[in-house]
Symmetry: C3
């Protein structure tokens, strides 16, 4: 899985960068920034592994992607004030990560002999968006993925595509179809400003309480 591995690294760097930038914008210190970068990059995979009983999760056994995250965070920490210009590159890299992580999450499920559509899609989704959710919880924000643009839906559609593609193609090809489906939907949603529907409240926003 040569090319997919490259995508995974690009995605890890992009996720780590987004974690580090959120950390810095929330006035976290060097440790907080690095921790948030690691959490964003590997948090989804850790959650996925716990769900299916892989203990310790891969990220702890093989800290390869944690090291990538730490280096990425350090670079962001040093060059923070110059990174705004790279916003486009970061968004594209993030979309690459979303696609690669989704494909990898689905494959982990399949390699562990799970056959249900629901669990395969769930594990693809968690791997893709779990780290970002944790990032936002730690940064005291409502998770981005719950409020804006087509993000999780790109991951879900990519995962469903993978399941169907495997009925026609080999697993290797299906992974790339999943990757490109997720990636393209995500990039299109950014370029075209696509959003999922929201409810418009009739009255002033009345907060629901139990």
């Amino acid at each position: 899985m040569g090319l997919m591995h490259v995508f995974e690294i690009i995605g890890t760097v992009a996720f780590a960068i987004s974690g580090a930038m959120v950390g810095i914008s929330k006035e976290m210190d060097l440790f907080g920034t690095i921790f948030l970068a690691i959490t964003t990059a590997v948090g989804g995979g850790v959650f996925r592994d716990l769900i299916i009983g892989i203990t310790p999760p891969t990220a702890f056994v093989n800290p390869y992607f944690c090291v990538i995250s730490i280096v990425s965070a350090l670079i962001v920490f040093i060059f923070y004030n110059k990174l705004n210009k790279l916003n486009n590159i970061i968004q594209i890299s993030d979309a690459i990560g979303l696609g690669a992580f989704t494909a990898i999450g689905c494959n982990v499920a399949i390699n562990h002999n799970f056959t249900g559509t629901f669990i395969i899609v769930s594990l693809g989704l968690f791997t893709g968006v779990g780290g970002g959710i944790l990032r936002d919880v730690f940064a005291q924000e409502i998770p981005f993925v719950f409020t804006k643009e087509i993000y999780a839906v790109a991951s879900i559609l990519g995962a469903i595509t993978l399941i169907y593609a495997r009925k026609i193609f080999d697993g290797y090809t299906a992974s790339y179809i999943c990757f490109f489906t997720t990636f393209i939907i995500r990039v299109l949603s950014i370029k075209c400003g696509l959003h999922l529907p929201k409810v418009r409240s009739e009255k002033e926003k009345s907060k629901f309480t139990l």
Copy 2:
């Protein structure tokens, strides 16, 4: 467990509705709203299963309750502005869910041969209130269960009742005693406006910092 299954479904619907309503009130989009509904409905059970090593958690293997949650969320999404009138029904259904989930959580613990009071009560409690805690964390609110009314305490008392009831009755009967204990305490606390004590600060609210 025929009737308890009905209670479980009612509870799932009520929990999913509360998740969806919180999501919408926080301006989440369709995905966020559905995700929060699922989290509220099955999150406690997922956490309970992870605690005792059931991987993958039941909710992922059998997405039955997730589907119920999704349908509930969609209905809330469409009819949001008419649901305020149903506040009473939602509160009663939520109390039914709290009772059913508590009884189920305790039974899962007992069926896995745990005998300690602490772990049985903990698993009943987590199943009952865990989803709501996750809902509030994702919605950027201090968990409701930590601040208002008799909610967790109803679940704890129900769970303790179950343990003692099993010494006299069969497991089936004990489950219903647990259910009704939790349900009645919860409903009474709403009707009578009962709250747990809080500390009144002498000075102005001084925020504690380490």
Copy 3:
């Protein structure tokens, strides 16, 4: 491990007190206050156990430290308005807890035959700071450990020291070296007001969004 056990109890009390005080300052009720105390005291250990597949986590099987946490929370609840004077004692106890929990977390990893530096340090760190992170997430604060002073770094340095000390000394001695390293770094950072670096933004604090 006689003395370390004493340190563990002191640390549990200190962590529970910090959880209870944060809970009260956030206007949580008695249940919320106790729950936050328990979470702060045992949450890190629970997460550590889940990571390495110890299910159910020790804290659920043996509720010894939960009981200590509950008693500590009750005392805080009753004497809250008199505790501000004890701030110094609480800080020192907290540092004792950080040291003891770090050493214990590393030893759990080693006793489960993990040999990698990364996972040993991670488990020491999670045991030391995980409860405090959960406390702050539930209290709707950006985790303290991400923003202020030398806290996590003390734990990390202590854990690294333990790994190297074990190459020279027995495990018992190495645990104490880890404990004192963590403790002293933490106390020095409080006394000297040491902080990790943060990024100073050139422009006004511009919030990063994906």
